[in-house]
Symmetry: C2
Subunit: 193 residues, 2 copies
DNA sequence: CGGTATTGTCAGTAAAGACTGACAAGTCAA
DNA sequence: TTGACTTGTCAGTCTTTACTGACAATACCG
């Protein structure tokens, strides 16, 4: 409980803190909890796997929060459990190649968010088509508007399909050598504007 | 003020509502306010530009909320103001091509979020390098750890640079014919897994 | 210009999301 | 198995974000 003086100004801690804070901001920006991002950053920087107590002390968070955040990171395949023989505590480590990590994130996001949304769009499109045709058959005055709505909805559904194709193409070339080559090419594409 | 009965069950309204709700969810998923997404969806579906009162009634939101959301949509270049001569009210309409809209979104996101973050990463990398070299010069025991941290941070900064190149390449091919051709190609890239 | 219809702003409030800490459940050495 | 240590869960609380509605500012008509 007593206030111990800092053992040293700790240049290392300061460097790490900046990076951790920044990664937290980036995460928040992309819809990921800030704390989740900070833990990930800490593990990415660490030379060896860390246990929960070390993480909670370093980032000043409760172990409940830490436990939940780690569950998230595991679900996103951003970190791995490490078991050390003769050690009760569970340790965690992060993937060290950012592109491999990013690739895993995109795959997960595709699975959770893109696929369900694409499916929902198809259902909505089908429903719109049925409504429009039914209005035709009934000679309803809405028929024209319904066909128009169907066309706009179908156009958006097609966009979503193509968007998913783009993601699939990215996942196919992946974090490996082909992906690396393409990213090198990207560097030399003449900029717009 | 009196309760008028619905004029009809309105198949059109139901079709629109489904699409609007879904777009709202998609928006929320990508860090955009749900209401902002719903207004955008409504304008995308509408055959003619709409004024604020129509939007507030249709989506059951306050005009304050609507005003703020429309400001956001304008800032994202997702909708346009339309002035009709001899009409006091301002009308709004949405871009009708989803890829053109998406392109504008990405450009804006790059400007607001990617560029500042890439810059911050460079600063952090420089700072880490300076600290590591200073520790070397001082013969500090932290020197090894600092060089290690610098390497990891630099690796991530490089990833961010490449990520930005990828976005720039996308923006360069754009929503035009070249982009369309590439999206067609994407469709036939063999899938991973 | 004065009057009115429309839009913008923002303080206060409501809703959603994140965090803590107490307790439960699980794990492992002895 | 027991007992100590570690991790998981979740009700309650705190923080952040979204929304409403009253008032202010603006634009346009006659």
């Amino acid at each position: 409980m007593s206030q111990r003086p800092q053992t040293s100004p700790k240049a290392l801690t300061e460097v790490e803190d900046r990076f951790i804070a920044q990664w937290g901001e980036i995460s928040a920006l992309w819809g990921v909890n800030r704390t989740v991002g900070r833990i990930h950053a800490l593990l990415y920087l660490s030379r060896q796997p860390l246990d929960m107590e070390t993480i909670t002390k370093r980032l000043q968070i409760s172990h409940g929060n830490c436990s939940t955040s780690i569950r998230d990171l595991l679900a996103w395949n951003s970190i791995r459990r490490v078991h050390v023989p003769g050690e009760r505590r569970v340790l965690y480590e992060s993937e060290q190649d950012p592109w491999t990590w990013f690739h895993a994130c995109i795959r997960e996001r595709r699975r959770r968010e893109v696929v369900p949304v694409v499916d929902a769009m198809h259902e909505i499109t089908d429903h719109a088509k049925l409504s429009a045709d039914a209005a035709d058959a009934a000679g309803s005055p809405e028929a024209g508007d319904l066909h128009d709505a169907f066309e706009r909805i179908a156009r958006f559904a097609k966009f979503m399909d193509e968007f998913q194709d783009l993601i699939d193409a990215f996942l196919a070339v992946g974090a490996g050598p082909l992906g690396k080559a393409l990213r090198t090419v990207a560097k030399f594409v003449p900029k717009a504007r």
